[in-house]
Amino acid sequence: MLSRTANNLYWLSRYMERAENLARVLEVANRMSMLPNASGDGNQSEWSSALIISGCEPHFTETGQLVDADAVIEFIGRDEDNPSSIYNCLKSARENGRSVRTTLTSDMWEVLNDTWLSFDSRWSDARRYGEIRSFLDWVKERSALFRGAMYGTMLRDDAFDFARIGTYIERLDNTARILDVKYHVLLPEGENIGGGVDYYQWTTVLRAVSALGSYHYLYREDPQPWKIAELLILRPEMPRSMLSCLLSVSEHLERLGDSYGRKHTCHRLVGKMTSELKFADANEIFREGLHEFLSEFIARNNRLGEEITKSYMFTG
């Protein structure tokens, strides 16, 4: 397979996944803004954390706008100057897809193309009627449809591996960020875990990764921060947990290694990261500092991404 093709597939999936994650983040912020709020800051912290999670806070600050629902929704949803807006993610996904049309199945391509072509009408309808939820649902739906088309129609060859690797690298990054940011927002310094923080606030973390139901099923109790962390970092059965993402990256890299008959630094790296998480203990992570742990893992995940790029000679 062409190196450029692998690169396009990898980024195509990353952008689709990112669009979905941005929609999730906005959805949660939107939901929170409808609830009575403990911090008394007019929900501003929800919208700030949406900006931080999506990694575009510095860029937003540069625009000189005030942090409020409208400005943040516009910035993350549609802003053409924000490289990480949903708009730009879907655009980049399609552009990457267009360059590798020969590798996509027509089902996959039609989802990408159709999504991009209907973006504007979806967005303006949602804004006109103040129904941002319907837009966000649509984005999640399109991402699910794309995933479905990929699973249902794509040959299980190296192209599939590169596409899936992109998804999981992006998803791991996103889960780690949500956890990291939420803990900061929700647990200001000196605040005891499980202290005066609203129950609803904790559930947002779970909602952001569609894991509220799973949490209840697995733990059968009210959301507790360390258990949430355990679920989202260490539980292999939770599909958006960091361990689960790593296991998948690992599986696809193994397949590539086997079929190409050659392994690279990225194989060693992913093996190391995976086994660390496999044998980690949530309490220990908390004791040593969740924030430090997460920041380090985000950095290592980036490095893993770069190594994969290097190993397979991506040119883009």
């Binding site: 062409l2 267009r98 020969t102 040119t315």
Partner: protein
């Protein structure tokens, strides 16, 4: 210009031509509203499949649809059989001609074509002199533009021996028609066209350099997603199951071409390139080109890779050379040409020039090197000022122009704003040359959607139709 045009469905006496019996009945029986809905559906299908051509620099959406007409154009089996024989004869000779020019130049020595017309032509590439190409084939994929002016009057308007495009529209038009009107297909015996990609792959494989293994690596080389025909490039690569590469994906090492893959370099044997000669190799041609592959020409001349179509083949589709094709056919084969040329006046010839100057108002004058319908003068539709200005240009450089009578292009029923009406059409069948010459029964029909217009180019308001060749 009170001219009677030949209509491919309705004869002047009110009869319906045989090939169109089914279509005529269908058009009569189908409610206008239904056709309108179907046309909308077609638009949606084309857009969703991403079948667009790109127009940059004019503002608006850069990805446009070529208008598609839902009424098919129908050719009878016997019409096709004659045309096919003529096309095979013609492309075989064009290939022989290019080979001859780059080797012994017998045709020049025999005085059939003036030497200066070839050797001073910008399409003649001295770099190719004496270079042997696989199977001596230069134009592996040729698109021959045909027009019809009467029941048995078919003319070749133009030969395209370099990188003729449009075949993806032929294929997609059929795809869309079959989705929209399955009943109509059930009632006709329409020859399939969807094996085109298989024939193309076979042709390319057959033309791999000598000594290549049994499974040569074939790629399609595209300038990239911003090229107007990118859709076609990716579509053909997909249908053939080969890689679609850009210049940056290839490199040359020791006169061998490789592509960069996830498993390291892989040797490439055949490149179906959709990049013009001038951009192929910055070391040989345009040094500014970033689309090509440095060193490609050396690998090519060393016989380590096949380029389709071959470099330098443009010498055969030059408009001035076109006028000599019937002579070529006689020279190389001793046969009479099966397909006629449009009568053409060469402005390089003093008598012809005098005639052209006197009759500008009736003629269509074209630049020898122009394409896409740009830079031509359509006499009957021009003003006195336009003609005076054009005459000036011809006088300055007569060798750059040819002239043809205004052709009475045939019309086909076409669905337009106010219902079904006749519109002018032309036709581009595609001819594949490998070990033997192959064609699918069909081609691209282009239609001038504006009433009275004779210009079918998509850049100037033209659309396309599905073309049916009926079974015996």
């Amino acid at each position: 210009m009170a001219q009677n045009f030949f209509d491919e469905m309705n004869l002047e006496n009110g009869d319906i031509r045989d090939a169109y019996n089914g279509i005529s009945k269908w058009v009569d029986e189908t409610a206008d509203e239904h056709l309108r809905v179907k046309r909308k559906e077609a638009d949606i299908l084309f857009r969703r499949m991403g079948i667009t051509f790109a127009v940059y620099g004019e503002g608006g959406d850069p990805e446009r649809l070529i208008p598609f007409d839902i009424i098919p154009r129908v050719l009878s089996n016997s019409e096709w059989t004659t045309m096919e024989a003529g096309l095979i004869q013609r492309t075989s000779v064009l290939n022989q001609f290019i080979h001859d020019i780059y080797h012994d130049q017998e045709i020049l020595k025999a005085g059939i074509i003036p030497e200066h017309l070839i050797l001073n032509n910008s399409s003649y590439l001295p770099e190719m002199q004496g270079v042997n190409v696989a199977r001596n084939i230069y134009s592996h994929i040729a698109g021959i533009d045909m027009v019809r002016c009467g029941e048995n009057e078919f003319y070749v308007l133009e030969d395209n021996c370099r990188t003729p495009s449009g075949v993806s529209y032929m294929l997609q038009n059929r795809e869309v028609m079959m989705r929209l009107f399955p009943d109509l297909f059930a009632k006709h015996r329409v020859a399939p066209v969807d094996n085109y990609a298989d024939l193309l792959r076979t042709t390319l494989i057959e033309c791999a350099p000598e000594g290549t293994g049994p499974e040569p690596t074939v790629v399609v080389l595209t300038p990239g997603i911003f090229n107007s025909a990118y859709f076609e490039h990716s579509y053909l690569a997909d249908q053939m199951g080969v890689e679609l590469v850009e210049g940056q994906d290839l490199f040359v090492d020791g006169n061998v071409v490789f592509m960069r893959t996830t498993q390291g370099p892989q040797r490439v044997d055949v490149i179906y390139r959709r990049i013009d000669d001038a951009f192929l190799d910055p070391l040989t041609f345009n040094p500014e080109s970033t689309l090509g592959v440095p060193g490609l020409m050396n690998a090519y001349r060393a016989g380590n890779v096949t380029l389709t179509n071959a470099v330098g083949g443009g010498i055969a589709d030059d408009k001035a050379v076109y006028t000599y094709v019937p002579d070529m056919i006689k020279f190389y084969t001793g046969e009479e040409p099966i397909l006629k040329n449009v009568p053409t006046y060469r402005c390089s010839d003093a008598d012809d020039l005098a005639y052209v100057m006197d009759n500008l108002a009736e003629l269509v004058v074209k630049e020898v090197h122009g394409s896409g319908g740009y830079g031509m003068l359509v006499g009957p539709h021009s003003t006195v000022e336009e003609r005076t200005a054009y005459a000036e240009r011809i006088k300055n450089d007569p060798g750059d122009f040819i002239a043809q009578p205004t052709l009475a292009l045939s019309t086909c029923p076409t669905y337009v704003e106010n219902g079904v009406a006749p519109r002018h059409v032309d036709f581009r069948p595609f001819v594949l040359s490998g070990k033997k010459v192959r064609m699918v029964k069909g081609g691209l029909t282009r239609v001038a959607l504006r009433e009275g217009s004779l210009v079918v180019n998509s850049s100037q308001g033209g659309g396309t139709k599905d073309t049916w060749v009926l079974g015996k």
